[in-house]
């Protein structure tokens, strides 16, 4: 979330699309209701199903699963053709005026530079036109009139001009009037003092075009001037309680903690590595905040290797593993399936249930030598080897994997911090011991590490240095406390830290906790486990444990509750809530303003505090341009979004580029051999399926909770009345749903809430599949729904395509 939960109450229009906030985030959804009650805000819901969010909406429109870009692209087209954009904002705060390489092209569904063999783009033509100014700096060329045919604005206009209301309706199945009605509602928020917020979730991410779904909305929000505003923003309503925090800790291959991109084989040394990651400003006077990258990285190295990290050994740069390719969860299971992996640990993760194509995941796990499952509960994954009838048809005697199952404490038995979707880090306290011999996750990892370290110390082995030198300053080495760890994450001075403006002034004495990431240094004098969390445990103590919920502004900022990263800032890009001169676009919802001497107000300014408006420092400080990107060259599958059909589509061609079979599906999405072959075709599997959560359950977790089992005891699928009639299925019948990868059986819920859509002239039915059942739990046993889903992910994030695929259905 660029904003935060409570801020939703400041919106004039709330759009719920690509998510179902009422069901997946009911307590956050409260702020939608508050906006409706107190601000007379309107709620619009666009979803393949009439969800419980739709039940309390002012306007609902159905959409075909997997056609969101067509819908949103249509909105962009509407805003541009009807001139419903926030002109000053677009002109100054976005790269609308930036001139793009004239060789950049978009033809027949593909952007310039496509390589069909590699299924990827060479992005050479996707850049800005550059010019060298006096003094030797090189800056991007701009046309403030936005008239140059190569400026991002004109390219944007041209690109989305194809997304006419008729095309939108044809591709999405949304009735044209409904689409236009929603466009009108959205367009109203182009006014500087009106904001729209978007609440999306996995309904946008779990597609082969997931990232571009979100980018399309980001373009809309930028055109409307809703970024940085109270009641605006792009709000990803994230999954688990600490999914934000674990993402921030970057428990994945590509990044080190704090989104520090991890070294690859190409980063042969620290210097090369840093140079590639420390950008130069693309426009004059921009803050270009990533220029501080070396400070963040060096401080992380000091946190990890302590005294063993010195300038002599590049702070232990060599000890960091270099990546040679993708290691996302789909890539990992692909490798495992190929027999390239021996050991695997699942820490509070149930991949058999939550990763696509259960058969493939199960087969992959059976190729491991050892599997370790650390969890408070009996997971399906931990029993992947056990026969559970047709729910899990395996032969244990043929599975050689040694499986360890370790009992972990749950939240109630643990002290530490969680980071919510609004980036607020909050501390929680242990209430009781876990059952039996269960242990905390930290203790389990630490004890395991201490055993390994002892073995390497005693027997030696491959590269023991990073293991033996790993900084481990904990009072109980097998049981580091959460407090010790959060202090390490937040950052401390190893030597005295001086004020850069006055080299004699000590701003942090050696051994002190740092006040924030601004105090980090690249000379080894500071350590910080995660720069974006810098300052969350300062000399003032544990700021994440603060519990003052006062809200003097009435905007719900509560700056003294917990600690929001970065720097306790609650609304990111909040400089954009003011015009060029520093006056708020909407004085009634002032987030910050220029006081004449400094930026101040109801939030921590997302700007250098003393950057006077006439210095022309633009609000999007994390980009070298200083502005938001309408044209985004960083994306893997195009600087603009484009509608591509899901990998399993009811259509045989992409209506936007009917003559190019290469542009049917996302051309830059990665597909493994064997997976492409098991994609189903519409002639065998004619119905669009989508998987989702119900409000009564949480993933595969609450099936172990009796209270939740009572609320939704048995697996079901939802179909519309028309399909039910066609198939002779009555409400409450048992049905079998098949994809090309397997089947599930469930009770049929026949409902008016699933509309039959007309797509490209053809009637198209949707089958809705809630995910929460499995073979372990106190609910009635059920099938793992990911038996059905295709093994393909988004081109950028590799998030699997759970939301749009094909199935057939029959009475069981």
């Amino acid at each position: 979330m660029t904003n935060h939960w409570v801020d939703i109450k400041n919106a004039d229009l709330i759009m719920v699309m690509g998510g179902n906030a009422a069901e997946a985030h009911p307590c956050g959804f409260k702020w939608v209701i508050e906006a409706k009650k107190d601000r007379k805000a309107k709620l619009v819901v666009v979803d393949p199903r009439f969800t419980r969010s739709a039940a309390v909406s002012d306007f609902y429109a159905p959409v075909r699963a997997g056609s969101d870009i067509a819908f949103l692209g249509g909105v962009i087209n509407y805003l541009l053709t009807n001139d419903k954009i926030h002109h000053d904002y677009v002109k100054n705060y976005t790269n609308a005026s930036f001139l793009i390489n004239p060789d950049f092209k978009f033809e027949d569904g593909l952007f310039s530079g496509y390589n069909p063999e590699k299924r990827s783009y060479d992005k050479a033509t996707w850049g800005y036109q550059m010019e060298t100014v006096k003094g030797g700096d090189s800056f991007a060329k701009v046309d403030p009139t936005l008239q140059d045919p190569n400026c991002a604005f004109q390219l944007l206009k041209k690109h989305y001009s194809r997304y006419t209301p008729d095309m939108v309706s044809k591709v999405t199945g949304t009735p044209k009037e409904s689409f236009l009605k929603i466009c009108e509602m959205i367009a109203e928020t182009a006014a500087p003092d009106k904001t729209m917020t978007i609440c999306y979730a996995l309904g946008w991410t779990q597609h082969s075009v997931g990232s571009q779904n979100i980018r399309t909305m980001a373009i809309i929000q930028t055109l409307l001037g809703n970024m940085g505003m109270a009641g605006g923003g792009i709000n990803a309503l994230r999954g688990h309680a600490n999914v934000q925090g674990i993402t921030d800790m970057c428990l994945y291959s590509e990044n080190l903690p704090g989104y520090i991109s991890a070294p690859t084989d190409a980063d042969v040394d620290r210097k090369t590595y840093l140079e590639k990651r420390t950008p130069k400003p693309l426009r004059p006077n921009q803050m270009n905040f990533p220029q501080n990258f070396p400070k963040w990285f060096t401080s992380l190295q000091k946190a990890w290797y302590g005294n063993a990290a010195t300038d002599k050994n590049d702070y232990g740069y060599e000890w960091l593993p270099k990546r040679d390719g993708a290691y996302d969860v789909l890539a990992i299971f692909e490798r495992m399936h190929q027999g390239k992996m021996n050991g695997f640990v699942c820490q509070g993760f149930n991949p058999l249930a939550s990763v696509s194509n259960k058969k493939k995941v199960g087969d992959a796990l059976a190729k491991l030598k050892y599997l370790v499952v650390i969890d408070p509960l009996v997971t399906d994954t931990s029993e992947f080897w056990k026969n559970h009838g047709e729910l899990n048809e395996v032969d244990a005697s043929k599975i050689p994997t040694e499986v360890f199952r370790l009992p972990a404490d749950c939240f109630a038995e643990d002290t530490g911090s969680f980071t919510n979707s609004g980036r607020v880090i909050q501390w929680h306290w242990k209430a009781a011991d876990g059952p039996g011999e269960s242990k905390g996750d930290i203790e389990i990892i630490a004890t395991l590490f201490q055993k390994l370290k002892a073995m390497y110390a005693k027997d030696g082995g491959k590269l023991p240095d990073p293991i033996l030198n790993l900084s481990w300053p904990h009072r109980i080495p097998t049981k580091p406390s959460s407090a010790e760890l959060l202090m390490e994450i937040s950052g401390k001075a190893l030597g005295d830290v001086f004020d850069p403006k006055d080299k004699t002034k000590v701003i942090a004495k050696a051994g002190e906790q740092l006040a924030g990431f601004a105090q980090l240094r690249d000379d080894g004098s500071t350590s910080c486990g995660n720069w974006i969390y810098g300052g969350c445990w300062s000399q003032a103590g544990n700021l994440t444990a603060r519990r003052d919920n006062s809200d003097p502004s009435g905007l719900g900022q509560t700056l003294l509750w917990g600690f929001a990263w970065p720097a306790n800032r609650r609304i990111i890009y909040n400089r954009a809530s003011c015009d060029l001169s520093g006056k708020p676009w909407d004085p009634k919802r002032t987030v910050i303003r220029w006081t004449g001497t400094a930026w101040a107000g109801n939030d921590i300014p997302d700007m250098r505090p003393d950057a006077a408006p006439d210095e022309n420092v633009m609000p999007f400080i994390m980009t070298p341009e200083g502005v938001a990107r309408l044209f985004a060259p960083g994306m893997a599958d195009g600087p603009f979004s484009e509608h591509y059909e899901p990998f399993e589509t009811p259509l045989d061609k992409n209506p936007f580029s009917p003559n190019n079979p290469k542009a049917l599906n996302n051309p830059a999405a990665r597909v493994y051999k064997g997976d492409m072959e098991v994609f189903g075709k519409a002639k065998d599997f004619p119905y669009v399926a989508t998987t989702y959560r119900l409000v009564e359950h949480f993933h595969f977790w609450t099936k172990h909770s009796k209270l939740n089992a009572i609320l939704q005891p048995e697996q079901f699928v939802e179909i519309g009345e028309e399909l039910a009639k066609e198939k002779g299925i009555a409400n409450g019948d048992r049905v079998k749903v098949r994809s090309n990868r397997g089947f599930i059986k469930a009770v049929a819920v026949v409902s008016k809430r699933i509309a039959t859509l007309t797509i490209d002239g053809k009637k198209t039915h949707t089958v809705g599949i809630p995910i929460h059942w499995g073979f372990k739990g106190v609910t009635k046993p059920g099938f793992i729904t990911n038996t059905l889903t295709p093994y393909v992910g988004d081109a950028n994030s590799q998030t699997p395509e759970f939301k749009a695929f094909l199935v057939n259905i029959e009475k069981a």
């Binding site: 009422a22 009650k37 309390v56 009572i710 005891p713 048995e714 009770v747 819920v749 008016k752 809430r753």
Partner: protein
């Protein structure tokens, strides 16, 4: 609220009035159906707080689970898919005890102290006094009380009288994530409902209104409905509910009339005896028989 809520207004099967000098605040729960997302947090909070767990049932083709109120489900959500003016509406109503000002259950209950109405408006069942006859079920115009199969006692929502007694809101109201359930004094709730109704009218629901049925003297659980003119759309919420005339007859006039009638017959017999004396066999016949025997 606080401890005054223990003041008793009425007690089942009790003919004399309860102490009624103190005036305490009437409380109420307002269920704003227009902001209810049917998440069932109220159901869980209710079960969790009251230490009850219903059976793990099955899916019957609807979202309603448990499918009905039971001794272990004191509140359930009822889902209705309704098409109004060509627009689909998913009306979701939290069902449970309405805490009537004139409670039919209490009226019907034969067991003294099994049903109590507190001065704050809460109607509470006291299972230790309940004899399990099920008369409360017949008395209720909303079909709420359920007799447990395990202990044959009647159960229903207590409006968390234990929480209200210490100044807290009922568990369901506290939990409700969207604020569709509000709790406060009845006065406050009516004011709040007024605002909600005005908002709904501004959004095109001309017939929005408050459901506080006068037929049962008003209730301490009220609804804000988008279609207040047709409460039956909400899975059969009764339009103009009242205690069944049969129950009123049975537990009303019938009680004194029949008691008096029975007493009259008994006393009539007594006085008949006193006034007319016994009907003895006549002396002539006695003599006749004695003569016969003497033969």
């Amino acid at each position: 609220m606080a401890l005054q809520s223990l003041d008793i207004a009425r007690r089942s099967a009790t003919t004399t009035p309860a102490p009624g000098v103190r005036q305490t605040t009437e409380v109420a729960k307002l269920i704003d159906v227009s902001t209810c997302i049917g998440c069932k947090a109220c159901q869980v909070a209710c079960m969790e707080w009251n230490d009850i767990r219903d059976e793990v049932g099955s899916c019957t083709g609807v979202y309603d689970n448990p499918v009905d109120l039971s001794a272990k489900s004191w509140t359930v959500m009822r889902f209705a898919e309704v098409e109004e003016k060509g627009k689909l509406e998913w009306l979701i109503r939290k069902d449970g005890c309405m805490h009537c000002a004139d409670p039919g259950c209490l009226k019907a209950c034969p067991a003294p102290g099994a049903i109590i109405q507190y001065a704050n408006g809460i109607v509470d069942f006291h299972q230790e006094n309940c004899i399990g006859c099920g008369y409360c079920v017949t008395g209720c115009p909303f079909n709420i009380p359920r007799i447990s199969k395990e202990d044959s006692k009647a159960y229903k929502c207590s409006l968390c009288s234990d929480r209200v007694a210490v100044g807290q809101a009922p568990a369901c109201a506290k939990a409700c994530p969207t604020g569709a359930i509000q709790f406060g004094s009845k006065e406050q709730m009516k004011d709040y409902a007024g605002k909600r109704v005005a908002d709904l009218k501004s959004r095109g629901y001309d017939k929005a209104g408050l459901y506080d049925p006068p037929g049962v003297g008003g209730t301490h659980v009220m609804y804000v409905l988008h279609h207040a003119d047709r409460p039956e759309l909400y899975k059969g919420l009764p339009n103009d509910p009242g205690i069944s005339p049969l129950v009123s007859l049975w537990k009303g006039i019938a009680k004194p009339v029949a008691t008096v009638a029975m007493a009259a017959v008994a006393l009539g017999s007594l006085f008949h005896y006193v006034m007319k004396g016994p009907n003895e066999v006549s002396k002539e016949l006695e003599d006749e028989m004695e003569k016969e025997d003497a033969k």
